[in-house]
Structures are given as structure tokens and as C-alpha cells.
């Protein structure tokens, strides 16, 4: 089936496994690279490298990245084929910049995890696969790269594919893994199927991405996290602005305002300033209610039977140097609700190798762990698997205001 929806993809994997080169190859071979960009890459290749055209420079756009030949932060690139549009986040492999990988992968439908066929699955490969699965990518495309350097050996490919697939299957939130034998440098099996791997019968990476069905069957009830109350001066209009999550919402539907628990009927819906009768998931709308009840920013309109809570547990990706421990305090943001959070407990830390829970008093930069939080304000929370919008929150460091943790809720008490 041809899809005209946009697919969001993020690269992942260890340093030097060829992520930026792969994205450069995809952009180049889909004729997305403009002549002046290619000329600039060739010039930079002469300056920073051995002169051979380095397609990684298409996304490694910062001076520090070019000087060191590494990726520091996410680059977002856009390309389209006749079949669909793609938004690509090319993320860094260095452990030091895992926070930027989290940023890039958080909105991705598919993570392309690269592995150097010579080195196999490394610690950072595991970390990225773990993070991508926690963040809820719908599939992992395992690109076993540099196949030309292992003589296109089918056994090497199978061994890497089996290793990562087995690892992902054992994760707390497993996702499907599809493996591709590729050479990002030479373009084999990236856009076109290569003759160098006659034993490989599957599609090229791009062919697979073009038909990947990222849509999720939504049967959860609608929710609207209220961003703002829209009140034009001199009129009676009162609308609640937000982006619709869950299912659809119609004029005439009954909704409950949480945490107050008061109910009313939807009397009108606007999108882009125009009246509509039904709003669908993802749409930025303004909803009016039949009754004059108290609704403020941070409240949630729900069509189902959700409740609010101040206690949640979840997986956290920790992204700052200062450790998180029992009793630590942060700001939190969940939907449009901002408040204070206290860590009630660090339940355990995830061991990347054994995947066993490890007792921990505190966790540090790049750790993945299970934590329990008490919040100063009630939120309408759901497990992340059930509702993306209801199941995620960020923790913000009180001292620096930087975003410190990404939390995927597992239990809302």
C-alpha cells in the first residue's frame, strides 16, 4: 500500500558505525542533495579528510563536528520520494551525547540502528536499542553496515542480526527488528538492492521504509491537554486550545474536565480558525463547552473514564551529570501541566548487558532506570504503551533549568 503520510526516522548505534554516512547516502541517492550542498561537501572533504567525498558532512554541520569527524547533536533532514515524505533525525553515537540521541529518537516512528559488521553489537548499540524501544519506536531497522569489509559474508550478517534481535526481544518493551546488509559508503542495499549480496532476498532499506505502516489503530478515547483559554475581548466566546490526542472528538460529545471531574458537552470545535464538527488525533483545535465550568491551562478534557493521580512510576532516561536519587526534587512537565516532582524511590537500574534489574541508590548520566515519583499537581496519566500523551513527562533541573530526564510511565497509581 502506498502511504502519503510522513515517516519520522532516527539513526542510532555506536560511534563510527556510519550513521551520518548512511543518511548522506539516502539523501544523495534520492537526489535530495542540491548542487551547492554537494560542492560544499566536496570542499569540506578536502579540508577535513583525505579528499574522498565524505557524505557524512551533509549532516555533520557544526564546525566542531567537522573538525573531529563525529556527530555531536541531532541534525534534522527532510527528503521525499514519489511514495512518501521523510523526516530524518541523524543522532550522535558517542555516549557523552546520548541526551541528543534521546531528543532525536523521541519522535521517531522507526529507529535505524547501525552496526559495523566487523565489530558487531557494542554497548552503545545496546543502549540505543534499549532507549529506542522505551521511547516506543514501532520498529527497529537494523542496518548491518560495512558489509564490504567482511566480504559480504552472509554468516557475519546473520550473526549480528541474531544478536541484536535476541537482545531487543528480551527488553522490557520489545519491538520488531528487520535486518539489512548494507554498505552506506558504497550505497549497497540502501536505495537499490545490491548484486553483491545475492543471498539477501529482502527489499532495500529505503524500499522497506517507503511502505512501512507507522499508523497505529487508535481506539483510546479522546483527550485534550488544555494549552490556553482563548477569550476574545468583548465576546462570550471561551475556547480551550490544545492538540487532540487519543481518538476523535465531535460536537455533541460529553467530556469530563480533570482533575475537577466536572462534565459538559462539546458545543463547538475550531481548527485553524474555522468551525469543524469532528476533530481527529493530532489536530490543533479550540474546543468550546456548553456549560460555563472552570477550565484552566494544564487541565485535561477527556472523553473516557480516566482519573487523575499524583503518583506515577516509570522508566527514566537520565540526561544530566548530577545524579538522581531518592528525595531529589525537580520541575516536571506532563502534557501542559507544570509542577514539582519528588523522587520517592529509585526502584532499580537497568543493566544493559544482562537486562536484569540492579538495585541502585542513585543513577547517573545516561543510566536507564525505574523510578517512582510524587507530583505536586495531579496529572491524567496512563501507561506510555496505552497513550503517548498521557504516558510521558520530563524532569527539569531546578538549578540550571535544563531538561534532565525523560520518563515513560508504566504505572499511574
Amino acid at each position: 500500500m502506498t502511504s502519503n503520510t510522513t515517516l519520522r526516522i532516527a539513526t542510532a548505534g555506536s560511534v563510527d558505525d556510519g550513521k551520518s554516512t548512511l543518511i548522506g547516502r539516502l539523501l544523495h541517492d534520492t537526489k535530495t542533495v542540491f548542487e551547492d550542498q554537494l560542492a560544499a561537501v566536496e570542499k569540506a572533504s578536502r579540508r577535513y579528510g583525505d579528499g574522498e567525498r565524505n557524505l557524512a558532512l551533509l549532516t555533520d554541520g557544526l564546525r566542531a563536528e567537522r573538525e573531529q569527524g563525529i556527530t555531536i547533536d541531532v541534525a534534522h533532514r527532510y527528503f521525499a520520494t514519489p511514495r512518501r515524505s521523510f523526516i530524518v533525525a541523524d543522532t550522535p553515537g558517542h555516549a557523552q551525547y546520548t541526551r541528543n540521541m534521546v531528543t532525536g529518537a523521541s519522535t521517531a516512528d522507526v529507529a535505524i540502528v547501525l552496526v559495523d559488521a566487523r565489530h558487531g553489537v557494542l554497548e552503545q548499540t545496546r543502549r540505543h536499542a534499549f532507549i529506542a524501544s522505551l521511547l516506543g519506536v514501532k520498529a527497529i531497522a537494523l542496518a548491518v553496515n560495512k558489509m564490504d569489509l567482511v566480504e559480504w559474508d552472509e554468516g557475519e550478517f546473520d550473526s549480528v542480526a541474531k544478536d541484536l534481535a535476541g537482545y531487543v526481544e528480551a527488553l522490557p518493551t520489545p519491538v520488531p527488528v528487520h535486518a539489512f546488509p548494507i554498505s552506506a559508503l558504497h550505497g549497497d542495499n540502501v536505495v537499490e538492492v545490491s548484486e553483491r549480496s545475492p543471498w539477501y532476498a529482502g527489499p532495500s532499506l529505503l524500499e522497506w521504509l517507503e511502505v512501512f505502516d507507522e499508523s497505529v489503530v487508535i481506539d483510546s478515547p479522546a483527550r485534550l491537554d488544555v494549552q490556553r483559554v482563548i477569550r476574545p475581548q468583548g465576546t462570550d466566546f471561551r475556547g480551550f486550545a490544545g492538540r487532540l490526542a487519543g481518538g476523535s472528538l465531535r460536537v455533541g460529545d460529553t467530556v469530563t474536565v480533570l482533575p475537577s471531574g466536572r462534565s459538559s458537552t462539546v458545543s463547538g470545535i475550531q481548527r485553524f480558525g474555522r468551525d469543524i464538527t469532528v476533530a481527529n488525533v493530532g489536530q490543533a483545535v479550540t474546543v468550546s463547552l456548553a456549560d460555563k465550568i472552570d477550565v484552566a491551562r494544564g487541565d485535561v478534557l477527556v472523553a473516557g473514564a480516566e482519573l487523575s493521580t499524583e503518583l506515577v512510576s516509570g522508566h527514566v532516561c537520565w540526561m544530566i551529570d548530577q545524579p538522581l536519587r531518592e528525595g531529589s526534587r525537580y520541575w516536571f512537565k506532563h502534557g501542559t501541566r507544570v509542577g514539582r516532582a519528588i523522587v520517592d524511590a529509585v526502584e532499580y537500574r537497568h543493566d544493559l548487558h544482562t537486562l536484569e534489574p540492579v538495585a541502585a541508590d542513585e543513577i547517573g548520566l545516561n543510566d536507564l532506570a525505574m523510578v517512582r515519583l510524587s507530583l505536586s499537581e495531579p496529572i491524567v496519566a496512563s501507561p506510555y504503551e496505552v497513550s503517548r500523551e498521557g504516558g510521558r513527562l520530563i524532569l527539569v533541573d531546578e538549578a540550571t533549568n535544563t531538561t534532565a530526564g525523560a520518563v515513560m510511565i508504566t504505572v499511574a497509581a
Partner: protein, 302 residues
Amino acid sequence: MNATSSPHLESLADEAVTIIREVATECENPVLLFSGGKDSAVLLHLAVLAFAPARLPFPVMHVDTGHNFNEVIEYRDAFVERVGARLIVASVQESIDNGRVVEDPSPRASRNRLQSVTLLDAITEHGFDAVFGGGRRDEDKARAKERILSFRDRHGRWDPRNQRPEPWDLLNARIRKGEQLRAFPLSNWTELDIWQYIASEQIPLPSIYYSHRREVVARDGMLLAVGGPVTLEPGERSSVETVRYRTVGDASCTGAVRSSASTVEEVIAEVSAARITERGATRADDTFSESAMEDRKREGYF
């Protein structure tokens, strides 16, 4: 939206509206940068839709280099009046007159880089804590690295090696007094998306975006309009060409492209087939050095 719309465009518009609402509500004193260019026209259009039927809850600001195309200034004033916004003009000429910046006396100097000082001074003067801009990640390799909500320290500086993580769309707008945020609701739009949205929403643009006859001089691979800040140097000859502008900026460094595209549909066809990026084709300031955009952004530029 009308029949030329698509799920792709609509979802970009939903995303932009959501970002605009979120930043405008979390921050105390935002402002939207409006240059009269196509990206800022789309941004202002979406900002108006975001708060309808209420009025736009923040002012718009133009950093005026004093080297603008007359058509663009007329358009700017008409557009702002039509949507009922309050316009603040921050003038680079005033910054020069006050001695805040010194203009490069060479005949080919551009005022583009001076804009950063004028912008930062205006942000301080008005106490803005968040500034919306129409920057797109597909414009430049440094822009491709930018967050949707980008933190700037008290000096207005961008630190590309130490950006805040930005998981999902949970925008973290917490800052201390004197620090600021730059917000880019059009981050994920491409040049083609912008034009298709302009067609779909019938957004008016300055006439210079469409094909017209103009006296130009070829310089540094660009076709610069003769008159205003650009004067002929010895040995240069001007000619009258059929051109349009792919980007609209300071007239001293924004080049025209030869084009017969006189309608939005013809422009879309032209952009779809383009083999040169819009900045590569039209901005002398960005081709000046490999990291020109990154360097300007570190200084506080958009």
C-alpha cells in the same frame, strides 16, 4: 484548508500552531519576528490562526537594516495592519547612529551581521523572553542542528555543543531573568512546504517573489538589484533581466534568480525542480565561509 492541501501540510500546520500556543502561554513577553519574507508571512498567518477568534496576544518586530526593498516594507505594513498586530521596528540605522555598531565602510559591506546587535538590544529594551522566528532546519546545516525551543544565555548566545535535550513535544520554557528563548515553529518545513501552504491558504506575498523585470548586476555569482545599497563598481555593467527573489533579506546581499514564474503554482513547479538551495542561490552572506550561519547564530542572530 482547500483542495490543494495535504495530510503532510496539515500536520505541519498543527505542529506549528501547537508550538506557538505553548510558547506564547508559558512565556511572559513573547514577540514574533516579521521581515516580510515568505517564511515569516506563513509564521504570522499561523500565529493569527492559533489564537482565533481572539487577537494575536503578542507584538511583531521587524529588524530593519535600512536596506530593504520598498515592496517588502509596503507589504509588511499592509500585512500587519490586515491581521491587526502591533508592529515594532528595530532599526539597524539607529544602532549605527547611536554608535552601538560601526558600519563597514567598504562599498560591498552588508548590514546583515549588524542585525544581531540591533535584535539583542531590542530584546533587552522591550524585555522579551521568547522570540518566534521563521527559521527552517532545511535552510542551512547549522539550522539543521537547532532545537524547536532554543535556549540563549544572557548574552543572547547559542551554544550548539550544549543544547538542552528536547524529548517529544514537551517544550521546556524555563529560563532565568535575562535569558531568552528562540522558538522555531516552522523547524520541520521545507521551502516547498512553505510554497504549497502559501498556495493552499492564498497568503499574499511581496511582489518581488514573483517574476518581474529589474536592473541587476552580476557579482560573486549573485544577481544584485542596482539602486539602493548596491551601486555599480568600475568595470561592472548592469542589465535588465526577468527575475524573482527566492528569499527576501537585506538588499545588499540578497540575490535575485532568473525566473519567469509569475504565479504561486509556477513558483512551486520551479522550486520542485531546483538544483541549488535557496540560500546558496541568493545569499552572499552564507557562502562567505563554511560556518557563516553557525558563527552568526552564536552571536545572537536568528
